[in-house]
């Protein structure tokens, strides 16, 4: 199932791939795929990105908080999920992105069209696409410095310290002044 999904995503890209095509490749029922993997997004997160969480769960957490808490919630949610996997999963993801153009393209489609589109759509007043990519710079950079380059003291800092330091950045990218 995971292999079939990975093949179809690589052949068709994130937008072009359908649950029907993946289920067909794996010889299973499409309704089963939706039920067990949380649809196309969950399957993509598990098969291609090997994320240590279901992306839909993250979206539901983020859109449920008050508008002035979403920056803080993003930092805490991402760090708690990635820290739990020891950072190896994030490093593997970045290695894939820096080595393969198609991995970078799929990650782009996935983050911008799925995760951040819903968060930005809920909280941001304008410049939705620019704000989404600004958020990505801070999140990707946080992961690179904490898990890949392991610059201290940030690599060992506790989540509270990083949430206080970084949340205002994300909060401004979401609904503050950026132009």
């Amino acid at each position: 199932m995971i292999n079939a999904a990975r093949e179809v995503f690589i052949e068709q890209g994130y937008d072009g791939a359908t649950v029907r095509a993946i289920a067909g490749r794996a010889g299973v029922d499409a309704a089963m795929v939706n039920h067990w993997f949380g649809g196309k997004e969950g399957l993509f997160g598990e098969a291609v990105l090997k994320l240590p969480f279901n992306p839909q769960d993250i979206v539901e957490i983020l859109v449920a908080v008050p508008a002035d808490r979403v920056g803080d919630t993003i930092v805490r949610t991402f760090l708690s999920r990635w820290d739990a996997s020891g950072g190896g999963v994030f490093t593997a993801l970045m290695r894939s992105v820096t080595s393969h153009d198609e991995a970078a393209a799929m990650l782009r489609d996935f983050f911008l069209k799925f995760i951040f589109k819903q968060v930005i759509g809920t909280f941001s007043p304008d410049h939705h696409d620019l704000r989404a990519t600004l958020i990505a710079t801070q999140i990707v950079g946080l992961g690179m410095v904490r898990y890949v380059a392991r610059f201290e003291p940030l690599a060992s800092a506790d989540v509270d310290t990083l949430a206080v330091a970084i949340a205002p950045t994300l909060q401004r990218y979401i609904n503050g002044t950026i132009t």
Copy 2:
């Protein structure tokens, strides 16, 4: 010369390598190395990181601006240097960092002990090491999103747009409230 430098940096690490050892390996005079490559830092930037600029020049630009302009200057200086190389040099650097632990360790020593130590030492009131690594998260993430993952519209945004959006983040990490 470049090969000799790369060998010595990999064997000894950034801290352990000396201009004398590199010059000896290459069979040249140490004074020549200092003159032509700007010392150990310049040689490291050229031999190992393949930077499209001399790190000492960047430091001199940054420490010369007024304290409230340094965030803006960092964004403009880094983008103009990396943009000029088409982003390929940054991608190669990140590929190296995600693939080799020793590359990550050398990058860490170089940025924290050379570039940011001088900038932070000039402008920051406290928490020097944490501030340095926070700056690194935003700079590395900006490069990852603009040059490697190429998320639009940020990948094609002009330098002025990104300076306005991102400079306040760096300014706060340098001398604003982070705790």
